[in-house]
Amino acid sequence: MRHQQTLIRWYAGLALLGSLGCDSLVTDPPQDNQIFDAPLDGLTAAQLKAHLDGDEAFGEAFNTATGLGPVFNQTACVNCHPDEGRGHPSTNLTRFGRATADGFDYMLEFGGPQLQDRSIPGYPAEQLPFEATGISVRGGPIAVGLGLIEAIPDETILTNEDPNDANGDGISGRANFVPAPEWLELSPDKIIRDGMYLGRFGRKATAINLLQQTVSAYKADMGVTTDFDPVEIFNPAVGNTVGDNVPDPEVSAETVRNVVIYLQTLREPLRRNENAPEVLAGKQLFTTIGCASCHLPEMQTGPSAIRQLAFKPVRLYSDLLLHDMGPQLADHYPEGQASGTEWRTAPLWGLGIVDNLLGGTPFYLHDGSTSDLTEVIDLHMGEAAGARSRFFELAETDQMSLIAFLKSL
């Protein structure tokens, strides 16, 4: 009898615990508009399978046995794009070089253009040479909605080019045309200027498509060779070309393609409070004061092999063009046709939830150097000086509305 009573007490205790909430006991999925890593709606089963395979590869942490290094920055894609969001400042990478009389020297003999400041045990990491004059510190950008960006036709982006500021609005966006590596697969509808192609990915728009971006991230960021680019990077200071003792290529074309499909099929960030009066007022101000001149609210995709990407609106809030952002944001590091003061207009979608995936602290700008959106706006100079001035001329409530709008993206 006493045992039965004891048992009843235990069961009652468990039932009480259960009553605290079944959902909290079995874990809830996060809300769709609070996360980045979700697939496009309407993917077929085969597309979803490829998406999941790519997800696994995106999360793979390389080690000394699987090809990491010998020099590298991070061990996995997700380190710089946690939960496919933007990177934490501790994962920033550095590119460097020096201005010379003839132009710019990427200091290949010192390991440039990217500083691989980590290395596998027993192998020396690269050191930033003191002769470097252009030092560009950058964090990983949000890694979602990229399939939509890739599917925007070149013509659409180039329509907004105004390199000589012909319309006199003080804004002179221009495209970054960059050479394509030999192995890069490009669609025939790409526009070619002087043998070069339109770059659209990366902080200075130096990657033409997601395949190039992925292969270069494997190689330069993780020290992992692929079927596309099987040549390892080494620390030139060591003086030999051996290091991790893992046969090259370390990752197959299949895996790279899975990652590319994964990136292509990650849907864009969903908005929150989109119709709140304050947000709508901020949206209006965003256009009125001129932010939308560069942070173009919407573009359209063209045809795409992935049906869900074809002929869709892309509300990325960027024109994907280069703009002079003035001295405060200058890194003095030219890339392709981008100068040391120019940056590609950063897409603003997802801005309101970056902190969700960075432990609660949003790290804004290309280097994550501030968590204050007002400070971000304050640092906009160069072509953005006019919009910046008009923002600070707004009443405080209007400034707050505009910030609320940005956080709804």
């Binding site: 045992h3 048992l7 235990w10 061990t75 501790s90 045990p121 432990g359």
Partner: protein
């Protein structure tokens, strides 16, 4: 300085052991029941197959399986079954003073086959005995007494598998014994020189420092750097019952020397552990805490942890203990365990924020034992993982399993 301190401590411990050995030799009045208790309760000489030994060889083992129903962040993969372990013990009493014991483990079918133990004990006297072979490193109590049927929860404690990489078997040689400072108190010790952990500690996992990644089959053949690690444990069985243990494992883990040539700096890994287990009426308490210090190359700091720590605490309450359903002695135990591991105790220099990379887990379980050697277990665990940037990922697991000695 560190080396001097360590050497001093070891010397001190050795002198103290010698003194206690003499005292033990002079004392013949220790409680007999205490003397008959194995040095490690639940350890390699406290297994049911040995107690039933007829000839000079005994074969036994244990088998363990369970189901998993996991859900992480609201996403589940459904129900699956896991053939967790099938372990075979072979013991031989070669002579009155020479014993051999071994354990061959099959994990997940034949996915992982490992020689967990293969050692010879030469029994000199109670206070000092020689042990050599593939042995369970005495770092933490769980590593030396981890047989699944002994536990009421299916998953092993996190600190005992992640900071202390149980099961840690190493090849080495050393001494063990028991000392009796008073008639009712016992001190047991084990101390061995072993090949130690390997390069994988840093770099073997891309997720950061993972001590378990330093385990290597090649370490059963030779030390990767020619400088053995040292591991030992001192445990007190006080008169009021239970056991309190202090243990360590320290050594250079990287291949800093190859063919006599110095190719890297020496990098040391040191783990300290504190463990306890006690029983009072129907209540059993046990737990373990460990800290690890790892020398990491300068270029890998922050990404790879220099400090790790963790603990687990478990309370079990025997609800029923009587003959039931045709079994002569059944028991039903309710158990609650808390696990915590910080894989990277440090700060990001870029932001002065604490590095996350931690795991917490709370497990509630029920264990029904139709016989003392067999456990049918049901458990619910809720876990909270945090990545390096303190992003939380919640999960849960419901498990039903069985483990039995044979």
């Amino acid at each position: 300085m560190k080396k001097t301190t360590l050497t001093g401590s070891l010397l001190g411990t050795l002198l103290w052991l010698m003194q206690a050995t003499l005292a033990t030799a002079q004392s013949t009045s220790a409680d007999d029941s205490l003397r008959q208790t194995p040095n490690v309760i639940g350890g390699i000489y406290d297994r049911p197959y040995i107690s039933g030994l007829g000839g000079n060889i005994a074969i036994g083992g244990y088998v363990e399986m369970n189901s998993n129903f996991q859900r992480d962040e609201g996403i589940e993969d459904g129900l699956s079954f896991e053939a967790r372990r099938f372990n075979i013990f072979i013991y031989s009493s070669i002579s009155e003073r020479v014993k051999m014991t071994s354990e061959l483990e099959f994990e997940h079918g034949t996915e992982e086959i490992a020689l967990e133990t293969a050692l010879v004990d030469v029994l000199l006297n109670t206070a000092i005995n020689l042990r050599a072979g593939v042995l369970l490193s005495p770092i933490g109590r769980f590593n030396i007494a981890h047989d699944s049927p002994r536990y009421d929860i299916i998953d092993r404690p996190l600190v005992s598998t992640e900071i202390i990489p149980a099961t840690l078997s190493e090849v080495g040689i050393g001494f063990f014994g028991a000392l009796y400072p008073t008639r009712f108190d016992r001190l047991t010790y084990e101390i061995y020189a072993v090949n130690g952990l390997g390069n994988g500690v840093v770099g073997g996992s891309g997720k950061g420092t993972r001590i378990a990644a330093g385990k290597s089959q090649t370490a059963f053949e030779e030390d990767n750097n020619g400088s053995p690690a040292l591991t030992g444990r001192l445990a007190l069985n006080p008169r009021f019952g239970g056991e309190l243990g202090l243990s360590f494992h320290t050594g250079n883990y990287n291949s800093y020397k190859i063919d006599g040539a110095i190719v890297d700096e020496k990098r040391r890994l040191t783990i300290f552990a504190l463990d306890y287990e006690t029983k009072w009426r129907q209540i059993k308490l046990r737990g373990e805490a460990a800290i690890a210090r790892i020398d990491v190359p300068q270029s890998l700091t922050e990404l790879f942890a220099e400090k790790q720590h963790g603990l687990y605490a478990e309370i079990a309450y025997r609800i029923l203990n009587r003959a039931t359903a045709g079994f002569s002695a059944t028991s039903l135990t309710a158990v609650l365990r808390y696990d915590y591991v910080d894989f990277n105790h440090g700060t990001f220099s870029a932001t002065n924020q604490d590095i996350g990379d931690s795991s917490r887990r709370l497990t509630l379980g029920l264990s029904f034992r139709p016989t003392a050697e067999t456990s049918l277990r049901l458990s619910y665990s809720r876990n909270w993982l945090r990545d390096a940037f303190e992003n939380r990922r919640d999960g849960m697991n419901i498990q039903l399993g069985m483990a039995t000695y044979f």
